[in-house]
Amino acid sequence: MKRLSMSGNYAVAYAVKMADVDVVSAYPITPQTTIVERISDFVANGDLDADYVNVESEHSAMSACIGAAMTGARVFTATSSQGLAYMHELLLMASGLRTPIVMANVNRALSAPLNIWNDHGDAMAERDSGWIQLWASSAQEAFDTTIKAFKIAEDVRLPVMVNFDGFIVSHTYEPVMLIDEGDVKNYIPSKPMANRLSPKTAYSVGVVGPPEYYYEMKYQAIDAIERSRQRIREIDADFNKRFDKYYTDVDTFNLEGAEYALITMGAMTGSARVVAGELRKLGEKVGIISIRTYRPFPSDKLIEAVAGLKGLGIMDRATTPGGPSNPLFADVAACLYGEKERPVLQSFVAGIGGRDITAENFRSMLRATKEAAVSGRAAPCMYVGLRE
């Protein structure tokens, strides 16, 4: 293993190179662009033997990925925000058509207003797309998760989105332990995959699903992502053993003896843990729960993690205007609804459009979660840091 200083984006580019992908079709958008720029360099110098297709839009990027994946190639693309939104119809098709595409989504806020900085609105808008969604909180995690994503995608035959926060993870330089290229090639050998468009079989792929069949075809994709939950855990366990890592669907910090906790996703996890750690030292019985596999949602692991908690704060870095709650809150609440014993849920929104979530913000969220736990009642959703 080599330890190098690099940004989250470059770490992903290295992962893609080591995965020996066959086709990369991508369109530039801040803050993902440096991933595909680095990959272009690799291809131009023969360090990665792949066809780099300079498509004219993200919609075409995903279209070309779908076509290439059907032909049996290992494919990769990257996007953010507006690009992801532009691909929206194709994301549903990629999962419905069971194409094992790996895509890095560098989380960025959605227009309007135009904003290039990070929040989770882009990925949340695609939570019903049928894609597996994994979340990375650092450059190291972005590297590891991308490598794992190829294994998962090709095993369960579903597309995988690797999310990580724009600028905070994508552009910040950190030390990254790169797995040796030989070990990566052993782990995810670049072997030929089935060509669904071979003249030998003459399949018709992407047919009309009339009312008497759409339901069953849709259910197949639902069943596939449900079953992938177990496979993802097995793959995580195997990856952890091989490369001495620690990945799980749900990660917990200081939960032993905790009475209240905050749920986080992505880069905010690190900051939340620092604040929670300090509060622990002051005697607060507080922990942090972070979600790494968002889809399929790890309901059973989450229920396990929150057992015994009196209060649970849920941090949304995206909003559902007009909804009964914001996206992550909705998922967590639905997950816990059937439990006889469950903590009081307190909803927060923070970090929208690249707004920093400060230590003070975390302290106030944890305070509010504690109050909810003690009083037995949650306050309405708190928009942390919003200026009136």
Binding site: V23, H59, S60, S63, A68, M70, P199
Partner: protein, 306 residues
């Protein structure tokens, strides 16, 4: 250049478009696709855009395709074709596969001229090696005859209906061939299933050329153009013989007429058979005749017969 189709003996007998598809009776797209597949052979992948052909040939669990086929969305046949083409190229180069298959993207005029134009332009600019066949029935037929930018001047459609304030379609067809040629692609051609040998030779040339090729096929639609279901092939001939649909090819930027018309029919002979033009009066007819005259001059066709 490989096979030249001159006589019936040169045409492969294998039917790669199976019967039992749901295209309207008399739909010349069926005829065109049969001819296209005879020229391309079984070693072909077809990418269909959403449209008449796609829904009629792939209604689960029946498929009319005897070659590998895919459909993804309405506006991206060209980009999906790019993906397939690049995948095959990369897999061949990396010795992960030895399959080398002709890629043909098949889009209607809607999925090509309008919503699909961006993807087509991108694929042509990149020089991806595939054939894009546009089957042009001059409107969004699958959704019930709405106008597209391929609808000819004065034609009636549901979104360009003639009325007190309207002549029907107020603009003439977009010059998709001109747009394609402007991208510098090595081969582009117009074709008609009414001229099968001309069509098959063009498809063969398009496949053989290295890089993107566009073949623009006029496919008369009995439902949308409102003519007798038995007249599709005859009507296609009249389109050519009136000068409104010159059959030509552009090889590396050089234009060559492939079917000469020494004495053109007046456009009225073509228009009078179609219900979509039955409202058309003197001034509009003159305008359509002028369109035919300009096309004929551009491509070197003969004068109107007296």
């Amino acid at each position: 250049m490989s096979t030249v189709y001159r006589t019936l003996k040169d045409v492969p007998k294998e039917e790669l478009l199976a019967p039992g598809h749901r295209l309207c009776a008399g739909c010349t797209v069926g005829t065109a696709v049969r001819q296209i597949l005879k020229a391309s052979g079984p070693n072909t992948v077809v990418v269909s855009a959403t449209g008449c052909l796609e829904v009629s040939t792939s209604y689960f669990p029946q498929s009319a395709w005897r070659v590998p086929w895919t459909h993804v969305a309405f506006e991206n046949a060209a980009s999906v074709a790019s993906g397939i083409e690049h995948a095959m190229r990369a897999l061949n180069r990396k010795k992960k596969s030895d399959e080398k298959v002709n890629v043909i993207a098949l889009g209607g005029d809607g999925g090509t001229f309008d919503i699909g134009l961006q993807a087509l332009s991108g694929a042509m600019e990149r020089g991806d090696d595939f054939v894009y066949v546009c089957y042009d029935n001059e409107a969004y037929m699958n959704t019930g005859i709405q106008r597209s930018s391929a609808t000819p001047y004065a034609a009636a459609t549901t979104t360009s209906p003639p009325g007190k304030l309207s002549v029907g379609q107020s603009t003439q067809k977009k010059d998709i061939m001109g747009i394609a040629v402007a991208h510098g692609i090595p081969y582009a051609a117009t074709a008609s299933p009414s001229y099968p040998f001309d069509l098959m030779n063009k498809i063969r040339k398009a496949i053989d050329v290295d890089g993107p090729a566009l073949v623009h096929v006029l496919t008369p639609c009995p439902t949308g153009w409102r003519f007798d279901v038995s007249s599709g092939i005859d009507l296609g001939k009249l389109a050519v013989l009136s000068g409104l649909w010159p059959l030509y090819e552009v090889v590396d930027g050089k234009t060559r007429l492939t079917v000469q018309v020494l004495k053109r029919y007046p456009v009225t002979k073509y228009l009078e058979l179609q219900g979509r033009f039955k409202h058309v009066k003197g001034e509009s007819i003159e305008k359509i005749q002028r369109i035919a005259d300009v096309m004929s001059e551009k491509f070197g066709l003969g004068p109107v017969r007296q």
